[in-house]
């Protein structure tokens, strides 16, 4: 079994675990479980599912996704939709919206993110990470300070819990990124294991310093 197939199967397994009604009820009972566990796991499932894509498909897609820009935009727009408080409410009220969530987060956020991450390059990835930290912190602060309950299906206490969790995640992420910036030697070219025939979307020979880590 190739590494890609293993990753794809892991993504599929994750989806099967997340899909049963009792698991959905469990994760969606609180706003934190819904926003900070279920949604990120659905995105992760999509990232893993990308392993199933054969090399020819990746190559064909890469032509439309130079520097990973198209995939990043698609992922950001999809995430933006599911960040709307009313989308969360709708997913709780309607089976169709819930199904849409289970389809779009893996396929329109996770998968394109996986295909775009390496082509984005170190600077692109750095921008994504730093924007992510900033957005999580702002969102956390908003949720703590908001004078209104943003989801009619969740309690105010839930909302404040999410706000605190977002601030903690932003802080941990910032610390981790800082540590990595100091502790990982970017000058040393690191050889990465890669499937034969796997394409990264680049046509030109690459600067070894740029491809230090896949998810770096």
């Amino acid at each position: 079994m190739t590494r890609g197939t293993r990753s794809g199967l892991a993504g599929l397994t994750l989806l099967v675990i997340l899909a049963p009604p009792w698991m959905r009820t469990l994760l969606e009972a609180g706003m934190a479980g819904h926003m900070l566990l279920q949604i990120p796991l659905l995105v992760l499932a999509g990232i893993l599912l990308a392993g199933f894509l054969p090399a020819q498909w990746r190559q064909r897609i890469a032509a439309y996704n130079r520097h990973g820009l198209s995939g990043l935009l698609l992922a950001l727009l999809t995430l933006a939709y599911w960040m709307l408080p009313r989308s969360l409410d709708l997913a709780l009220e309607s089976g169709w919206a819930e199904l849409l969530k289970f389809a779009t987060l893996p396929l329109l956020a996770g998968l394109p993110l996986a295909l775009s991450w390496r082509p984005l390059g170190m600077i692109g990835r750095g921008v994504v990470w730093s924007e992510l930290v900033a957005k999580l912190a702002v969102l956390g602060w908003l949720y703590l300070e908001a004078p209104v309950r943003v989801c009619t299906r969740y309690l105010v206490a839930d909302q404040e819990q999410v706000g605190r969790a977002l601030l903690v995640i932003a802080l941990l992420l910032a610390v981790a990124l800082t540590l990595r910036a100091f502790l990982v030697d970017h000058r040393r070219p690191v050889t990465t294991q890669r499937e034969p025939g796997e394409d990264t979307g680049h046509r030109r020979p690459k600067d070894p310093a740029v491809q230090v880590r896949h998810f770096g």
Binding site: A63, Y64, N65, R66, H67, L69, S70, L73, L74, L77, T78, A80, Y81, L84, P85, R86, S87, D89, L90, V148, R149, V150, C151, T152, R153, Y154, L155, V156, A157
Partner: protein
């Protein structure tokens, strides 16, 4: 070039979806969506039977021809219902005596009818010094309660401590018996102006 076209396509489609999903960037929350929907298209209120603090029964349809300001409450509520009661109290003070109980009626409707007996409703009314133009009521059947919450778009969820959390607002029903506006509970001035126009 192909990437550029793909970007334009994704941006265009995604932007359209987000625009639609937020009612043209007007509502990011379901509470906002509820207000936009009502403002865009007033909807008839359901004909349900209510019982007030004196034990008297009446139907919502009987009130047609009057403008109504409705809030949804439960009398044990320690938080937002107090603010809602306060808003109606301010309105009661601000409105001319001949209008209140005449062509304008304030209506508190309990969504906890099992606990909110007429005696409890009366205590609530007394606490806020509700006059003749302010009826504190409960629906008498589960179906009526369900119809009311559904049509007004009020979502009530248990708070885990024996109480409830619910979207709090002032619901304005026009003399034709249609829910026409939903306002913030601190927008007493706006409600007063709306009532002047509605007469």
């Amino acid at each position: 070039m192909r990437t550029l076209l793909t970007l334009l396509l994704i941006g265009g489609l995604g932007g359209t979806v987000l625009y639609q999903a937020t009612d043209g960037l007007r509502a990011l929350t379901s509470e906002g969506a509820r207000r936009v929907a009502v403002t865009d298209a007033a909807r008839p209120v359901p004909d349900v039977t209510l019982q007030d603090q004196h034990g008297d029964r009446f139907s919502l349809a009987e009130l047609e021809g009057r403008a109504l300001v409705i809030n949804f409450i439960y009398t044990r509520c320690p938080t937002v219902c107090l603010a809602l009661g306060d808003a109606l109290q301010q309105l009661q003070r601000a409105l001319p005596a001949e209008r209140l109980g005449g062509d304008v009626l304030l209506l508190s409707i309990s969504f906890d009818p099992a606990n909110d007996t007429p005696a409890r409703l009366a205590a609530y009314a007394e606490w806020f010094r509700a006059g003749d133009g302010w009826r504190v009521t409960r629906p008498l059947s589960e179906e009526d309660l369900h119809d009311l919450l559904e049509r007004f778009g009020v979502v009530v969820i248990p708070d885990g401590r024996g109480g409830f959390e619910h979207n709090a607002a002032l619901h304005l029903v026009d003399p034709a018996g249609r829910l026409a506006e939903i306002r913030d509970l601190d927008d007493v001035d706006g409600v007063r102006r709306w009532l002047e126009d509605a007469s």
